[in-house]
Point group: C2
């Protein structure tokens, strides 16, 4: 039995979502910028997708800009707003995704001052520390809504209120939040929000950036002026249609999905709590329900993931996106929450999804218990 | 009968190509950066796609970088190489795609000197003029391989030889060339080449940038370090698989497609040559065989396209990408070839494709003749 428990890395495009995309590869393949009937059909599909997405985050349709994914959205938010302001200070957190951290580092090279604020041991930012860093030179505060490794949700509404007192733009990388928690951009008070379709059962290669009306931000790539100048390049119509169908799926089935995720979370945590030397990382309550970062002392996390993989269970040790850097032994997120080395080295990330079943979770639990015991017997590594 | 003759704007994803993509939405949906079995499957598919693409342009696989499309590829080539050099001069042409022209204008704002070299009346760059503009400060020469409006092919090999004498990088936007002419990057001697899958029967939202080994160019967006640092963001696996299948389709069926395109070109031109006040734009020989820019005096091109559209025939007046700018009356390409205003205003672009049939071309010709006559009778506009 194949058991995929890595839904924070990517998700399958679910059958009904793919079905809605298919016509836009074939019969309705037009370029949304063409003026003839095929172009009009494509344009209509694109604008319908925009409306659907706007509806589920409570924005206006023309505040949604299609991009190639979360990374590009994050880059536009930070680099694009820097081009429109004299301010030279950026605030972000120590547990951001690489798309924000690396962009912030690039801004440092461009002589911007960047503060990477720390988090408490529960993975939540201390808003008092945030306030201390802010000043009249702060261009943007970019803090993720839900963390990709430990799933913790930041107090974004409170942070936005503080940031607004200093006139800073507020951006959130919501790549791991969209589809897993209700999002209301007006309620949050934020200016920009990044999302990526393949994290919520849509296709890879498409994302969006919400930009609140009149936020000073500009494009970072240049061309035909698509997406009202914000993102040139022929519109990915099938991708946009798929992303809209995916966000609709997540929110129209929200209660039923949440119920499943909670059940599976409880099943997994109950089992883990019976294992000695176990720790759940991140705040136990302020988190997206499907994401669990599990640490076992005296076990090597990579060996554990590999043993599970041999039984066709897919989990990860950290985020897929950091797997390019071979130097990293312990993830920057686990370091930021001050997890003792012994636990940090024995960490796996388990993320359930809409396509999982109770049977699969039971299968996983059975193999997890076995694998931890086996590795401990062998001295931690296989 | 629907007749699509706008294959320079976009193409349908052909059934056998889509079929190859489908598993990568569903069962093989893994993140290519994940270390477990699903990640490995995705990674393998991605690398196979890279090998296939490399094969058809005669590069090494690790010289192919996946991007979100032609526009992004062009931006990386120009902006990304500017970051790695002290040189401050850019040479491009007056008939480039907006993705190059607008990027070059952005570089002007960054205090780069940019020369937009002109073309002869046949749409071909005068290599002597190119040489006059070059100097030891020239960072990059970016000239498209085949033009998107009139289809002319530039003498790239000759231009590269000249540019190399000044140590300039040579980039070509080959978005309209890939699949329609044989391409050998080694033979051309170029350093970078941009392509976009949806122009050759692949999906929208994916393209590639060929970068010759050791060409000094760097990334323009920041994140997880995908594509060996050149392009961060979760890899669009289904897109890459589709693009590879598409390039394979074009080159494995090259002779048979070329024969069809030539037949249709001759059918259309024979009919047009019987219409008074007709002009074929661009060099009659040095051109991709499927692209025709047709001008009729005393006719409004937009009215002509609209009349055809009412008969379910899709053609365009200029490129789809320029349709965003409402000010443009005559395209920059037609201005560059000094087409008399009377003809420029009466221009349509007709681009045949793999999915057309003889019957469709006959249907188009019949309606074209009628429409031109009708418009002339009405004084040019409907």
């Amino acid at each position: 039995m194949r058991v995929y428990l890595d839904h924070a890395a990517t998700t399958p495009v679910l059958e009904p979502i793919l079905k809605k995309m298919l016509p836009y590869f074939g019969e309705r393949f037009g370029n949304a910028s063409s003026l003839h009937f095929l172009g009009e059909e494509a344009k209509e599909a694109l604008e319908d997708a925009r409306k659907t997405i706007a509806k589920y985050i409570n924005s206006e349709p023309d505040e949604i800009y299609f991009t190639s994914g979360g990374t590009e959205s994050d880059n536009i938010a930070i680099i694009g707003s820097s081009k429109m302001s004299e301010r030279r200070h950026i605030v972000t957190s120590k547990i951001e995704h690489e798309a924000v951290i690396e962009t912030a580092k690039y801004m440092q090279e461009q002589n911007y001052r960047v503060d990477f604020i720390s988090v408490e041991e529960n993975g939540i930012i201390n808003t008092k520390e945030l306030e201390k860093k802010l000043n009249e030179d702060t261009l943007i505060v970019s803090v993720m809504l839900a963390n990709n490794e430990i799933g913790t949700i930041q107090p974004l509404k409170e942070m936005t209120k503080i940031a607004k007192r200093y006139g800073a733009i507020v951006h959130t990388d919501a790549v791991q939040a969209v589809g897993k928690m209700k999002i209301d951009v007006k309620e949050l008070g934020i200016d920009m929000l990044s999302a990526s379709a393949h994290k919520f059962y849509g296709p890879k290669g498409i994302g969006f950036l919400y930009i609140k009306k009149s936020t000073p931000v500009t494009n970072i790539i240049f061309g035909g002026g698509h997406e009202r100048g914000m993102r040139s390049g022929t519109e990915n119509v099938s991708g946009a249609v798929g992303m809209a169908a995916a966000i609709e799926f997540c929110y129209e089935h929200f209660c039923e999905l949440e119920e499943k995720y909670k059940r599976w979370r409880d099943m997994i945590l109950n089992a883990c709590n019976n294992i000695e030397g176990f720790k759940l990382n991140g705040d136990p309550d302020k988190r997206v329900v499907n994401t669990l970062s599990l640490s076992f002392s005296g076990v090597n996390g990579e060996a554990l993931a590999e043993l599970l993989s041999m039984n066709e269970i897919a989990v990860s040790t950290a985020s897929a996106c950091s797997s390019h850097s071979s130097e990293k032994i312990v993830s920057h997120v686990l370091r930021a929450i001050n997890l003792p080395q012994e636990y940090a080295e024995g960490t796996i990330r388990v993320v359930t999804g809409a396509d999982n079943t109770d049977e699969q979770i039971e299968y996983f639990i059975e193999h997890l218990k076995k694998a931890v015991a086996q590795l401990r017997k062998m001295g931690g590594t296989a």
